[in-house]
């Protein structure tokens, strides 16, 4: 390595003394630390509510009400607003009820928002089936909506409108959304807490793939895959109207999710208005490291916090609820585990 040349003339007065140097360094360091601390303070925080001992035939309305209130949401915010509830009905079959959001969670959420004066619609664009009626019937949602006199919006086939991509993480310049999504004041993700064989976990953020219309993106929505699953998850979430999450984590799916996995009873409901924070908390409960989940990495600090020290737990503490989910023994999934001996399944 070549030594740097000495300057030809020395200007002593311009040379700081060792003490001055130390003092200046101290100020700079203090400034840096202060700026970092200030940055930490300015970085967004979020509340996530977790309820345990939940059942589909239990008091879900009260749980959801409590959760929304604990996260700072008040009834007047929803008065005369249009709320679109988006359950997960990707590929329903009666044989695998733990794949899809339980109708009881949908109906309870609708009751809460209706009680607060909102106009509530349930909408979904199933990703793997063109026959949306089949998805409704197989998931049990059709009957539940009929009984509760709730309207359903088939997001796969509605009129569509283009919105500029506010996330700009993927190459997509804009995203087509169905009319019901564009007109909603709030879009509420009602996912099932599940493992996912490509991205590790699917919860409230990934569930919003189902807000995009098949009539523009296909079955599956392969346009999104080609533009990057993590990237488009973030872009969709960034571009939607105001969002909330109410997670069906009562009977969950582990192993080969999101379709073929096994049931894992957890008895939980998660609620929050920061979807990255909700999903990060879900991941921790599932024994996964959210900072290693690609779309949560991308969402962090863009859309909301995923760091534990920036999430205020309401209700139950997640640490007491951790029950590691089995994940597929695949190279792209193994390192998502919080513990190296977390359960794997072939």
């Amino acid at each position: 390595m070549k030594n740097p040349e000495k300057p030809s003339s020395v200007e002593p007065f311009s040379q700081p003394s060792r003490r001055t140097l130390l003092a200046a360094g101290g100020v700079a360091l203090a400034g840096f630390v202060g700026a970092k601390a200030l940055g930490q303070i300015l970085l967004p925080r979020a509340d996530v509510f977790v309820a345990r001992n939940q059942r589909y035939d239990g008091s879900l309305v009260q749980t959801i009400y409590d959760g929304l209130a604990a996260c700072g949401l008040a009834p007047h915010q929803f008065a005369a607003k249009r709320v679109l509830l988006k359950p997960n009905m990707v590929e329903p079959t009666r044989r695998i009820p733990h794949m899809t959001t339980h109708p009881a969670v949908i109906i309870a959420a609708a009751e809460v928002f209706r009680g607060w004066g909102a106009t509530v619609t349930v909408g979904e664009a199933p990703g793997h089936v063109r026959d949306t009626e089949m998805a409704l019937v197989e998931s049990g949602v059709a009957e539940a909506l009929h009984d509760a006199r709730l309207s359903f919006a088939d997001l796969n086939y509605e009129e569509v409108a283009w919105r500029a991509n506010r996330g700009r993480v993927s190459p997509l310049r804009g995203i087509y959304f169905p009319r019901s999504v564009c007109e909603a004041d709030y879009v509420v993700s009602l996912p099932k807490m599940k493992t996912h064989h490509w991205v590790g976990i699917t919860c409230s953020m990934k569930n919003f793939y189902g807000t995009l219309p098949g009539i523009k993106y296909g079955w599956p929505k392969n346009v999104l895959h080609h533009n990057g699953i993590p990237q488009t998850v973030v872009d969709i979430n960034a571009t939607l109207p105001k969002t909330l999450a109410i997670v069906d984590a009562i009977d969950c799916m582990e192993g080969d999710g999101p379709i073929m996995g096994s049931m894992k009873p957890m008895g939980l409901v998660l609620v929050g208005s920061s979807l990255p924070a909700v999903d990060a908390t879900a991941a921790r409960i599932m024994g996964l490291r959210p900072e290693r989940v690609s779309y949560l990495q991308l969402a962090a600090d863009r859309l909301g916090p995923i760091a534990d020290d920036r999430i205020t737990q309401r209700g139950e503490n997640w640490q007491e609820l951790v029950s590691p989910f089995q994940i597929l023994d695949e190279p792209h999934l193994r390192n998502l585990r919080a513990l190296p001996d977390g359960p794997l399944v072939s």
Binding site: R130, D154, Y157, W219, P220, N222, V223, E330
Partner: protein, 294 residues
Amino acid sequence: MNIIQQTLDQLRAADCCSYSPGGPWAAEPTALACLALEIHHERTPALRLAHQLAAAQQPDGSIGALAEHTTPAWPTSLAMLAWMACSQDDTQSTFAEEIALAVHWALATHGKPADPNPQVGHDPSILGWSWAADTHAWMEPTCMFVLALKAAGLRSHSRTRDGVRLITDRLLPTGGSNYGSTLVLGQATLPQVQSTGLAMLALAGEENNDLRVAASLDYLEHSICLETTTSSMCFGLLGLTFHGRRPPQAASFLQQAFDREMTRGTCEYKLALLALAVNEDPALFPGFLPQVIA
């Protein structure tokens, strides 16, 4: 059958064919309604819808799925079927230019192939058709274009043969098919009636000894029942009918579906499917049309 008359009554009056009551105009319901009307000898309303499709055709031959959207253009396949059905006894070759343009577009368009990947069971290198441009080929659009090209007399064209190969490749190991995925990370995916019915329709008339075809027909026979939802039921019955395995209860299944549709308010898409599935004679369906273009 009573439902034929009732569905045709509604389709005859249809001016904006949609997937839902009061929904936006869409090319697929329009093409299916045109087909249904034509095979039931309702020529004037069929031609009206065929002309709507012609008006929606782009200079490159494609037709967008929704009004004022030029992409995606997979319904071009169904418009081809509709125009060809309307051209069977047409001495003036009313839609010859539209058909030729559409065939040209269909043959020039394909899903993005990929090298075989051990993580998935199907062969992504086989050329088929995609839902949207610059994405992979999937089961249902490939079925639609295979049907359209066969009806256009291009049964032996390499693209049609590749399409048939893709459809067979995407059948599940134990029969049935879905959107077009067979095994993912070693796990078999789930079959669906609608996709399987369309796949069987597209494979009808093929000399195909693949055991998965017979297993897929068995799957349809065992799956379709009174409660099967309308579009799945219709595609499933079409698939079985064109393999000579129409179930004896088909009429009562369709009546049940029709009654449900009438109770809750239906749309042209489902009425058209019902009118097509009611048809028991495969010779009337455009997949078996005589060659109408050179």
